[in-house]
Symmetry: C2
Subunit: 410 residues, 2 copies
């Protein structure tokens, strides 16, 4: 049987990020740039004033108080109409272009304005002002043609601002992977229905869809598939439109476990079935190459804990890879085990657990549950604690790796 690492290596083998697509700026948040990007402008685009004040010649204002006539007032968005000559000033607002000939800007707070019959005069006390003071020269931060962002960059709000500045209203970035979710089983009814005798509500479908959303995937909900070969094949065919099809249920050994056959009939080739893992051993993974592209198919065991664990361990890293993200999968920490943990059987175990951080390193306490369908106990978990195979008893204080659900929190 494959180990977790071997299984993950087979899933990610030959998988490249999806091909870049043009996306409106406001939808590109969280995606990854597919190309390098250059600026079509200088930034700032003109020699600009960094303050509200008066553009002047240095010689006019140094040392001695002076009163200067005001040529014009330049607000942001306007262009100067007159060159600044010796013995004059121009009023400029923050961000506005300074007039040609301006050598510095004196802050308005230091000045006094006086209206006279021959027009406004600004009184400036004598000062020590350096050439270029309060002026930011054109192109200081970006020169036209500069490469300002590189392929592979994750687009945060900060990058959104820069992309807007350099005129990228439509951006070539890696699209959001599409994940289709299909729950199988005759016993399932939707959350909106009251289950009849023998039935339960479909909780895996909504949970897996939410996990996929938390990987920033686009979710296609295929609902519930009955244990009927023709119906399953039709739903699987629809699911193969997505980059990833996640099925839950139907991959263990029950008589109605028709899923593997239905997948085969739809051209999905098994890559592996079963992983040395608890819970999640019956995990099935296959691929279908069709219409010039590839769909990845996961058959997850039907119980909620197995589904959750298999999604986080195997599906999330694949979504990350397809989306072009550099860091993939859950973040791992070491934590001190609280209480005893008895490892039963001989498979490494990822047990839902409660992690608490602390200055001296965190602690972790496995969740106690009533069977692997215990959704209620599951909601008390915020991580998976890892217990290696073969060892039978873990005593309090043992250092245990934990895989945080933080990506599920946001």
């Amino acid at each position: 049987m494959l180990t977790v690492e071997e299984a993950l290596a087979q899933i990610l083998a030959d998988v490249d990020p999806l091909a870049g697509q043009f996306t409106p700026l406001e939808e590109s948040l969280g995606r990854v740039l597919a190309v390098d990007l250059s600026s079509d402008i200088d930034s700032p685009p003109h020699d600009k004033s960094m303050v509200d004040g008066y553009a002047v010649k240095i010689a006019d204002v140094n040392q001695h108080p002076v009163s200067l006539p005001v040529n014009e007032e330049i607000t942001a968005g306007q262009v100067p109409t007159r060159e600044l000559t010796a013995g004059t000033s121009s009023r400029v607002m923050t961000g506005a272009p300074v007039p040609a000939g301006a050598e510095a800007v004196v802050m308005v707070e230091e000045t006094e304005l006086e209206e006279t019959e021959s027009g406004p005069l600004v009184r400036i006390p004598g000062q020590q002002i350096s050439p270029g003071a309060n002026i930011l020269l054109q192109g200081t931060s970006i020169r036209r043609g500069d490469q300002v962002l590189t392929a592979g960059t994750r687009i945060r709000p900060l990058e959104i601002g820069l992309l807007a500045e350099i005129g990228q209203a439509s951006i070539c970035c890696i699209p959001v992977p599409r994940v289709a979710v299909l729950s199988t089983g005759n016993e399932l009814v939707p959350a909106s229905e009251v289950p009849a005798a023998g039935q339960i509500r479909n909780s895996n479908g909504p949970m897996l869809s939410a996990q996929a959303r938390r990987c920033q995937a686009e979710v296609v909900s295929l609902g519930i598939g009955r244990d009927d070969q023709a119906e399953l094949e039709e739903l699987i065919q629809a699911g193969l439109d997505a980059d990833i099809l996640v099925l839950s249920g139907g991959v263990s050994a029950g008589v109605l476990d028709l899923v593997p056959a239905a997948l085969a009939a739809q051209g999905v080739n098994e890559v592996f079935h079963k992983v040395e893992l608890k819970p999640g051993k019956p995990l099935w993974y296959g691929r279908a190459d069709h219409d010039g592209r590839r769909s990845h198919v996961f058959g997850l065991p039907g119980n909620p804990v197995s589904s959750l664990v298999c999604f986080e361990l195997f599906v999330r890293p694949l979504v990350d890879r397809l989306a072009g993200r550099a860091s993939i999968g859950m973040r791992c920490r070491q934590a001190q085990l609280q209480g005893h943990f008895r490892q039963r059987g001989n498979r490494p175990t990822f047990h839902p657990a409660c992690y608490e951080g602390g200055k001296q390193g965190g602690t972790v306490e496995p969740v106690r549950w009533q069977g692997s369908a215990d959704q209620r106990a599951l909601t008390t978990a915020n991580c998976l604690a890892y217990f290696s195979a073969g060892q039978q008893e873990f005593s309090p204080g043992t250092a245990v790796p934990v895989y945080l659900f933080e990506a599920l929190d946001d």
Copy 2:
């Protein structure tokens, strides 16, 4: 002038989470429950088999090998039609209800099935099996009427699964706050346009919208408002439909800074103007109570660094509070300063910086930029480093608080 803490206290004063609203299950991810929720079902809903196997009486299988006729086969979703009597067995699948009278389930792997003329017989080797083995009793994990989730719980994929199980297809949770974003200034053109002389592209609007999305707010983009009283008032009126209206630009001392007047005309009352903070001193905050509800209005300074900082310090905590989230604002860490930092002026400074984590605690290096409109330099930051007021020179190795942008990454 108010300190950052005083300003934040005034913003959050008397602010309660928004009133709960019914939301479809699949849209409730990330929201906060507004009410306690009870289960309408037992879980499991019946005594169920935890394995594929045969339901039996203990006395029939203990100690000696036995062959038992198989009454029926019960798959998940079906109900048993016959009570289990001594000397018989029923085939049961994982998750299926066990028949009345069943005392344990023997795993299928341990058995052999034989078809005979009088029907199927299952051969079971003699074994030590306890009463109740492989059976999960009805209601073990949840009893009907149990309160299973409490008001204030953040809905993660794990809670989505539980909510589906207990039939909550529509959930009373705290709605997503609505944030309207309006950029002001005659110099601004949208990212899709080529700026003429004196113009720049609107980068703050898209950046602030993206920051709001990263707080899981619903964003209403109001575009660009010219420096014209009537136009501004109309846009502000539209923005007051939202829970929070964020304006950028128009709150410093320029002659065309009409924003405060336009806000007053629309019934927005100033709470404060100016905060002891660098960058971000001109921050304006007010409130409008109208139509039985309240809108919060922020006037952010127009340069990108100030906008970014003010949003993260003041708007994000308010969004978190309105959304009912327990932890609000950015996460703070201590880090060792790399290089010197010169604190100019006498306001505490939040400087965009680059944090690197490490086993021995992280390090932080302030971003070097060409003025506060340097979007390009800003994209190299992943945190704000805090430098207290009054001290002039911070030397390498000084412990500095950093506020992580991690919430912007996801």
